[in-house]
């Protein structure tokens, strides 16, 4: 923000006076943070919109476990747990003295309510599959919950950390979409629809009190408007900055810092495995070799993004770099196509959803495919159309989409899933992986799984979506990585 000269002098004089008076300045305790998408409502347990979690996750709502900035799963509202010998019974010891924002106590019955609600028959939880293996949830006493599973589940603590698994209270469920009441470090204060959401520090918070007294999420969808708002000082930080082409402006300016991290978004050239000619693995392999990932990252993402060779996040300790499996090699691609009987190439559809990685990436991929003789008819779709035509209708040859759910390699075990990969061996592997709790064995299976889908060239694996944020240089504690779609403000502070 800039002031007129007169005003600057006045404030300077005032600050000098304050210094003499002996009071060091207290650091600023409010923060305005820009987000591109506004949440449709504020109930993370009944919609898929990442924008909801970006506001409420960890700030307003908490689950039994929670994600840390590095993607690790840490204790949340449960401070410890025991697992029975057979892996079926999980006993969670809940934190004591925790209160919801409306003053009611957080107790075992709230956990029972939340999990039963999420897995109920008429549940509208977008990630209902997370709760599928739960046989029953019981409150043993006010601070102990016993969850019985139908089969051992090595992902269970991870599943409970999702925004879709946060703990809500029956007393406040009715208005959760507009007045969310959670246990988090901030309480919901106000929402001017279309404009901003304000949250305030929860003074009754059970954990470490956040440094910020209040935070405002400001919604700015237009990339150039986001740039202007940062430059004019209208917002102090922007999480998920939508204009990567302008990041160099911020890097060159000492007033700002740029945070480049990783997300859980595997961006892939999704391929309809049931539609000829893509039912032929040779054709899919040719596709993989026809693509120059770096050119796509440079051209569509202005250099931000990590190439991937399988459907797995590179920052995960179990990640295997399989990009060598699908090196850019148009000669080889043409040879493979000829082997498959398509020496003269073929024509297919390429249906693109709205994000720029898809629209810009699609143009580049179309040009690269044309080099090896594959012609694509590009159609630009809105999300709603994409969901209907491509995702549910499976009417597509190729599409580009970023799968942003964490650890979602399991979608390759669902033959009805839109890219329709049907491999019984892989499905069996996923089943054993889910039941396995020994970390070493899990790690080994995860490696095999990555290898299998890379060898089968199920989809064209492009790059891991980068998490790009811009902030005032005096702010610290913002997450660079986005292990889940969250803007966790509990550790954010101004440094002077």
């Amino acid at each position: 923000m800039r002031y007129s000269g007169m005003f600057t002098k006045v404030t300077a004089a005032a600050s000098f006076a304050a210094l003499i008076a002996g009071g060091a300045f207290a650091a600023q305790t409010d923060l305005t943070i820009g987000l591109q998408l506004e949440p449709p409502h504020l109930d993370p347990t009944s919609a898929a919109a990442g924008a909801i979690d970006q506001v409420v996750y960890s700030n307003i709502f908490e689950g039994l476990t929670r994600f840390g900035p590095d993607g690790s799963v840490n204790p949340g509202l449960a401070d410890s747990w025991e697992i029975s010998e057979d892996g079926l019974t999980w006993t969670f010891n809940l934190r004591q003295g925790v209160k919801f924002h409306d003053g009611t106590d957080f107790e075992a019955t709230d956990v029972v309510f939340s999990l039963d609600r999420a897995r109920a028959e008429d549940s509208t939880n977008a990630q209902k599959a997370l709760f599928e293996g739960i046989a029953s949830v019981e409150a043993v006493d006010p601070h102990t919950v016993k969850i019985t599973l139908t089969a051992p589940n090595g992902n269970f603590l991870f599943n409970l950390a999702w925004g879709d698994a946060v703990i809500v209270a029956p007393e406040s469920i009715e208005n959760i979409t507009t007045k969310p009441v959670g246990t988090g470090a901030f309480t919901f204060a106000n929402w001017v629809q279309g404009d901003a959401i304000t949250i305030l520090r929860n003074d009754a918070y059970w954990g470490d009190a956040p440094a910020l007294e209040s935070a405002t999420f400001k919604f700015i969808s237009e990339p150039s408007a986001a740039l202007n708002a940062m430059m004019a000082g209208d917002v102090d930080a922007f999480s998920g900055f939508p204009a990567p082409e302008n990041l160099n402006l911020f890097e060159a300016d000492p007033r700002f810092q740029v945070l480049v991290g990783s997300t859980e978004g595997e961006t892939i050239l999704s391929t309809n495995n049931k539609m000829p000619p893509f039912d032929n693995v040779k054709v899919r392999q040719a596709l993989a070799h026809a693509i120059d990932r770096q050119a796509i990252i440079d051209g569509a993402m202005f250099g931000y993004g990590t190439p991937i060779g399988t459907h797995f996040a590179p920052h995960n300790p179990d990640y295997v770099d399989l990009t060598g499996n699908s090196q850019y090699d148009p000669e080889k691609a043409r040879a493979l196509l000829a082997e498959a009987g398509f020496a003269d190439g073929f024509t297919t559809t390429l249906k693109l959803p709205p994000p720029s990685y898809a629209r810009r990436g699609g143009e580049i991929i179309a040009a690269q495919l044309r080099e090896v003789g594959i012609e694509t008819e590009i159609t630009n779709l809105e999300w709603a159309q994409w969901l209907e035509e491509v995702f549910r209708g499976k009417d597509f040859g190729l599409t580009i989409v970023s799968h942003t759910e964490p650890f979602d390699i399991g979608i390759y075990a669902r033959p009805e899933y839109y890219f329709q990969y049907d491999n019984a061996e892989f499905q069996a592997l996923m089943d054993t992986l889910t039941a396995e709790t020994d970390p070493a064995k899990r790690s080994e299976m995860i490696t095999t799984a990555q290898q299998t889908i890379a060898d089968d060239y199920v989809n064209g694996y492009l790059f891991q979506l980068a998490s790009l944020s811009v902030a005032n240089a005096k702010i610290e504690g913002l997450w660079a990585n986005a292990p889940t779609q969250a803007t966790d403000l509990t550790g954010v502070r101004w440094t002077d």
Binding site: S46, A49, A129, G194, N228, W383, A384
Partner: protein
């Protein structure tokens, strides 16, 4: 005059009924399902069905049309699929920005266009006329979002006089709110003022060459008196038509300007609702806009009657 109003009212109601049918049909044939949009790419089929049931999407089209129309007549616009709040509240929240913004822009545009048009017409061929024509030509040609961005760079980023956008709400005080609307209003007003000034000029030129103006001058009125007493009033008819059209446009047509200044106005609401397949919001907002347009035209019709008494008699 009374029968004239009655006839206009009748046309108004028929237009509304036809509009409601067309809007409903157009919105419903667009592919895309609000429930699957809400639940994303990991949702199970049964969850989508459960949400459709909850949203009341599993009933026949006619049933939904009648619930919608009968609700609207009683002032109930239904509940948004995605936001889960009453549509009327959402519209009201956006109206407190869009309506003042449209009026602000219209006032600016009129304040600029009237004097400019009158000066250009009365001093035809002069330097003033040529510069008005040149500037307005530019005003029509410049894309208003580009002009808006230019203003943001100059007045918000470099000079720091204004915010780059956003709206503090009327709670922040009248002047703070009006200040936030100033740059957007100027951006919206510029092309409108240019069009209006040109219409004003040519309309006034036409009337000034009419016989009755010569008669008025002949009976001893000065140029100025003839202009104010006779020419201006007659020249107003086409100008009023344009103002009516512009107001309707400004109400929701400023969506690009709303995006540039991240103002939560009606345009943004409708845009967002379309992408999210929040059908009921789209239908209700468009219906409201149609209603506004028809109402404005009705008012303009009445204004014609006042400006030109011959119209009242001719149409009865």
């Amino acid at each position: 005059m009374f029968r004239y109003i009655l006839k206009r009212l009748q046309a108004l109601v028929i237009s509304l009924i036809i509009a409601s049918l067309v809007i409903f049909a157009a919105v419903e044939v667009v592919p895309g399902d609000p429930a699957s949009f809400m639940l994303g790419i990991n949702a199970q089929e049964d969850t989508i069905m459960a949400l459709r049931e909850q949203l009341g999407l599993n009933v026949s089209l006619w049933e939904r049309y009648f619930t919608w129309v009968t609700g609207m007549v009683q002032g109930d616009f239904g509940t948004s699929y995605t936001y889960r709040t009453p549509v009327s509240d959402m519209i009201a929240e956006r109206m407190v920005i869009s309506l003042p913004l449209a009026l602000y822009a219209l006032t600016l545009s009129t304040l600029i266009a009237f004097p400019a048009g009158i000066i250009a017409a009365t001093r035809r061929g002069s330097v003033a006329d040529v510069s008005v024509m040149g500037v307005t030509q530019l005003g029509v040609a410049i894309p208003n979002f580009w002009f808006a961005m230019l203003m943001v760079v100059v007045f918000a980023i470099n000079l720091g006089w204004f915010s780059a956008g956003g709206f503090p709400g009327w709670d922040a005080g009248f002047f703070a709110a009006m200040k936030a609307l100033t740059l957007p209003a100027i951006a919206l007003a510029l092309p409108q003022a240019s069009i209006l000034a040109r219409v004003m000029r040519s309309s006034l030129l036409d009337t000034l060459s009419e016989d009755y103006i010569r008669t008025a001058r002949a009976k001893g009125l000065t140029r100025r008196q003839a202009l104010w007493r006779h020419a201006l009033r007659n020249a107003l008819i086409p100008v009023l038509t344009i103002i009516g059209l512009q107001f309707a446009f400004l109400l929701a047509g400023g969506i690009i300007i709303e995006k540039v200044f991240f103002l939560p106005g009606l345009g943004q609401l409708i845009f967002q609702a379309i992408t999210q397949r929040d059908l009921i919001v789209v239908e209700s907002v468009v219906m409201l806009l149609v209603f506004a347009v028809i109402l404005v035209n009705f008012a303009v019709d009445l204004a014609y009657g006042i400006a030109d008494p011959r119209l009242r008699r001719a149409r009865t």
